[in-house]
């Protein structure tokens, strides 16, 4: 027999293992965090697969995450690293790949002999536009399933969530 449960009254569990089972069940329904995580991974995988299938370029999301930080007139490596919050060597590797892909190029910075500007090549601009089109296509498909209203709501909520998460790196709540 399990330890005497307090049937009528306590908020205590009927039995520990029953309680545990309930909790597990709840966990299976997946927290928002876990849902986000799985959605993000699947989305990323499928988007990357599409780009590679269609363009033949094996660009990954780590590469494309660089794009929004590259100014049209070119941006220094160190500045990119600062904006992205990683080491300049990390950016150097990404830029190296993108250079191999022919998407960006390094040109000397006229203002500083040590520096180089990372900027899109002509071809890179084209593939960038193609990639964005592909991504929009993908998201349109998703929107068809979710509906425009929910898609907008999702977008807005994620923006707010991101702001919260970026503002609040620690654990301010407790203690």
């Amino acid at each position: 027999m399990p330890p005497p449960s307090s049937p009528a009254h306590a908020p205590v569990m009927s039995s520990p293992s029953q309680d545990f089972r309930d909790q597990l069940e709840r966990a299976k329904r997946a927290s928002v965090a876990q849902l986000l995580f799985r959605c993000a991974r699947l989305l990323d995988e499928q988007a990357v697969a599409r780009v590679r299938t269609r363009s033949g370029v094996s660009m990954r999301s780590s590469h494309t995450s660089l794009f929004p930080h590259i100014d049209l007139e070119g941006t220094r490596l160190t500045e990119l690293a600062r904006r992205m919050g990683v080491s300049k060597q990390a950016v150097g590797q990404l830029v190296g790949d993108l250079e191999d892909f022919g998407v960006v190029e390094r040109v000397p910075d006229p203002d500083d002999g040590r520096a180089k500007l990372i900027r899109f090549t002509h071809a890179g601009q084209r593939s960038m536009l193609d990639g964005l089109a592909l991504l929009r296509e993908f998201e349109d498909e998703i929107e068809q399933h979710l509906g425009a209203r929910r898609m907008r709501a999702l977008h807005g909520t994620l923006l707010d969530l991101l702001a919260l998460l970026e503002a609040d790196p620690g654990d301010p709540a407790s203690s």
Copy 2:
């Protein structure tokens, strides 16, 4: 002198590079996919950090993602691998870690001398509950910022999105 951003012969309408700039600008506002990705990563990092800070156990989300698949009475390694869609060796590594943490144990399967059942230890059940409480706490904080309504909407939308992504692994669009 400034980099010759575009040749002197002026493009007729809004220049290609202006168009490109617009596109980039749009990309900076981040697609849903990119937003999801960044939110997921931050959420994961912060959740993992909290668990480790409070419980001292360096469990990662790859470990916890195993939990929903472990039945209360125990589950075979191979079955876990099947449910998770990875190799049995991959699950073996996760289970090995969790065994070191004292969270799960391997007991012989009475029905099959080759098999073992992976199940939670007593302590594991406790830390599982603690972890879930922590996670709920975290999500409650998020809910405070987003509001209950948007949180529910987010949850529901993500569920649908997940279903879509899991149903549709390929690229059905391109014929």
